[in-house]
Amino acid sequence: MGKVILEVKELTTKYITRFREDIYAVDHVSLRVEEGKSLGIAGESGCGKSTLALSLMGYYFAPLHYTSGEIVIAGRNITGMKPDDVRKMVLGKEIAYIPQAAMNALNPTQKVISFIEDVIHAHDPSVGKKEIHDNARGMFETLGLPAEVLQKYPVELSGGMKQRVVIAVSVLLLPRVLIADEPSSALDVTSQKMVIKMLRQLMEIGFVGSMIFITHELPLLYNVTDEIMVMYAGQIVEKGTAKEVVFDPLHPYAKGLMGSIIVPEQGLRNVKLTAIPGVPPNLKNPPSGCRFAERCKYVMPECKTNSIGLRDLDGERAYRCILPEKELRALYQREVKTNA
Amino acid sequence: MKNTLRQVLHSGKFMVGFVILLTILLVVLVYPLIIKDSPLGIIGQGTFFPPGIYVSTYDSLNAPKQYTLLLTDAAAKRIANKMSNDDRLAMKEWLVADGVPASEIDVTKTASLLDLWEKNYDPKKNIPGMIFAKVRYYQRVNTSVQGLLSTEGAIIASKNAQTGALEQASTINQSDYVNLSQVANVRVLPLGTDNFGRDVLTELIRATGVSLEIGLVAGIVATLIGLSLGLLSGYVGGMVDDVIMFFTNLFTVIPSIVLLILISFSIGQDQRGAFTIAVVIGFTSWVWTARAVRAQVVSLRNRDHVNLSKLSGHSIVHIIIYDILPYIASYVVMALILQISSAILIEAGLSILGLGPRTTEVPTLGLMMNWAMIYQAEILGKWWAYFPVLIVIALITFSMNLMNTGLDQVFNPALRD
């Protein structure tokens, strides 16, 4: 087991709406990221995966509020730190964050190099311009980005290039953890591949210690991450290695999700996809029992009343279901037989 | 829809602006029902009577019943009020010449000044170096001061109809009072009169109404022109768009105030009614509405819901009315509010230049400013002739801009905090 860089224990955060309602978008989430590993978070929109990303940084601003739990980065507990301190001491250095559509966040009137100057100067005003330029050029070359990009304005760059520039700028301070929230979903496939390649490169070279990758595109997640966590309605419903979760999902929701993967590979044309009926529950007043009960094929009366915890299996594997592993597998097997 | 309305009503800015405007409107509507005077009726013989309550002197003498009130400070107040500033200074001058230290004399304190005067002044006293004319002058001052101090009443005489001789009709004592409600003619002029002797308040309220009407007509004219041109050029596109945008750009570069001055001037003083001016303002200020509406329509034209409406077989007219207009309605309402407030300002500007509506029919806010300026109210310090007008103009435009910003925050989520 490698060195643990980020450890989150029972983190709960909520949104307070304008009408004073509490929405627990992240509900008792625990996770652990080791050095050199990447963790993927999957789930449909509204399941709380983006909120989790925001919450992990310990940087809360209305309407998002911290409720309980602990975030420990490299041995330092950052829960309860003032937002200002978090910004100065944690963001950028410890955790870098790439939000969705980050490429549109570039100021169109600034050259790429001046973003880099801004970032460096925000943390250390004493660094000289020459030094910054040399370092930036070196870094861009290592990452396979052409150095002339530094002197260009964002409008002169393609979407994929902009996104890669944003990623390069956000890892300037060599953060321990990089959180990437749908970093490639607005791009075409070729740019997407370049972004993915760059993210893998960052880990290999050691520009970032470890990575948390958030997307709803499962084939992508499978190819980028070592471990996958499936979220549903603010809770973790399954976690394990990428291979385990994709090819051998235990939770019925994860199973449905994995059954909806479409890839252009032989033998996958017109296979039956699993569709999950219904919509996720409203988090203003979540169901008391299993949150997936309403949409679950295998629902039993107890599911709706008993509160259900994560069942830990060997290693990092865990899932949230009322049924033990054996019975679940038997259930799935029986279904395969009846279909056949 | 209901939700949007709720948000509008929850917007603090909008509501403050709305309440101010509503108050102004209410006053404009209700005031004429209570005070039925003609707004341009000349009531004052003379210019710029200051604000106050005007009581008919004749009627107060003949008020049905006289009351006697013995008020301790009445005499002091009367003397203080009647003693002129010149007299006070003259008294001080004599006292100083007589040897009283100047620092002990305060001309604003009537009682102590009179005290010193009574103690020191002697008409026979000869102060060295004082010329005779000056001595006589101080004696006259003294007489008037003694007159002030006298406690005798005034005698009212009336002319005998047959003999023509004056006969004593009654005496009025200093302690006689009249109940204001029993005086037949009392006129409150909260804002005094203007240069022509017209009641400024009545005039101002009518002028506010007329200016709002001008603003509304001009705003509607400008919005209608801008909206239809914008819709046409935005939705139809192609040549139509090019031609309309050419004219719109032409109008954009010509300053509209120059155009307005030229048009107003060429219409001539006699033809310029308030309505004409409103229409002229409307015709010169549609440009920005047209451009903005066009920009919105161009982006809407390619939206999928418009495509879907086409695929459902709807005609262009149907699409414009049902699929485009509702989307820009909020924007058009905001533009209308701004057009109204700017039209009111433009009218004021034109009228100050003497190119506003003709002056004989109705007052407008701009005309009132114009009159005040021509008769030098600002130099003479007659603030009531122009300051209230300024306040009203400012309040109207402020409230409308506030409403506009409020609406903007509701309809443009990017501005919401």
């Binding site: 929109s45 070729t190 591949k193 084939p219 190819n223 994709v246 479409i262 009926p277 | 495509n307």
Partner: protein, 270 residues
């Protein structure tokens, strides 16, 4: 079950040029296309390849600079509103962004009623109209009783897109053009929508054109695949031919760039 004999729609030399002079861009460049009755066809391309422009020309929403579209053997004629209406009874579309596809001021009932009217149901008794609306919603697993008097934006993206399918269910066009119908939707709603679209096609035998950037989706659903680059088709053929044995370099690159699950995803090729 495509009928290999009847050509349902044919495009020849279809070209669209935007702008003039130096700003001239050729979005679609002399494209020929034969659509057989009942086929499912995908047109795959990256953004800027001209696939959406091609779709809009086929739909008759924009007129081609050059070239003709033939519908059921006859040259397409869109010269009057009436003729357009007739054409649009036969070809309908589902657009990419469900949130932009609905008029936010119209209720769900209006959307569905519009379709009933288009099929000549204006004079139907109101029970029949309600029945039809309920049936169409039932087809896409929505409950009409819960939707009536609601606005589309009160639904989730997936539900809105399903409502679009309900619309197609009512209109029963000969050709359905689906322009990236699932690209803005979660993976698990995507399966639902594809399943419904395919069920509808199997019931009505309509021809479906998928416009997509997702080569996986194209492979999954279609009989025939067209690969589009810079306004031209660089490769076409049956799905298995094109995806499993690509000939054009561009196709190979597209397939390479999509993440795989069973095979190794080769990251070295970019």
């Amino acid at each position: 079950m495509p009928d290999e004999k009847t050509i349902c729609m044919k495009a020849s030399g279809l070209t669209k040029v935007f702008g003039l002079g130096r700003q001239k861009t050729v979005a679609v460049d002399h494209v020929d296309l034969d659509l057989y009755q009942g086929e499912v066809v995908s047109i795959v391309g990256e953004s800027g390849s001209g696939k959406t422009t091609l779709a809009k020309m086929l739909l008759g929403l924009i007129s081609p600079t050059e070239g003709d579209v033939y519908f059921l053997g006859k040259k397409r004629d869109l010269s009057s509103q009436k003729k357009k209406q007739d054409y649009w009874k036969n070809i309908q579309a589902i657009f990419q962004d469900p949130f932009a596809s609905y008029n936010i001021f119209h209720k769900i009932d209006d959307v569905l009623l519009d379709c009933i009217y288009m099929r000549g149901g204006r004079k139907f008794p109101s029970e029949e109209k309600t029945g039809l609306m309920a049936k169409s919603c039932g087809f896409v697993n929505l409950k009409f009783e819960e939707l009536t008097n609601k606005y589309p934006f009160e639904l989730s993206g997936g539900q809105m897109q399903r409502l679009m399918i309900a619309r197609i269910f009512l209109l029963k066009p000969k050709i359905l053009l689906a322009d990236e119908p699932t690209s803005m939707i979660d993976a698990c709603s995507r399966a639902t929508i594809l399943e419904m679209l395919m069920r509808l096609r199997n019931e009505t035998g309509m021809t479906v054109i998928f416009i997509t950037h997702d080569i996986g989706l194209a492979y999954y659903v279609s009989d025939k695949v067209y690969i589009m680059e810079h306004g031209k088709f660089v490769e076409s053929g049956t799905a298995d031919e094109v995806i499993l044995h690509p000939k054009a370099a561009y196709t190979r690159r597209l397939i390479n760039d999509v993440p795989k699950i069973y095979e190794e995803w080769d990251l070295s090729t970019v």
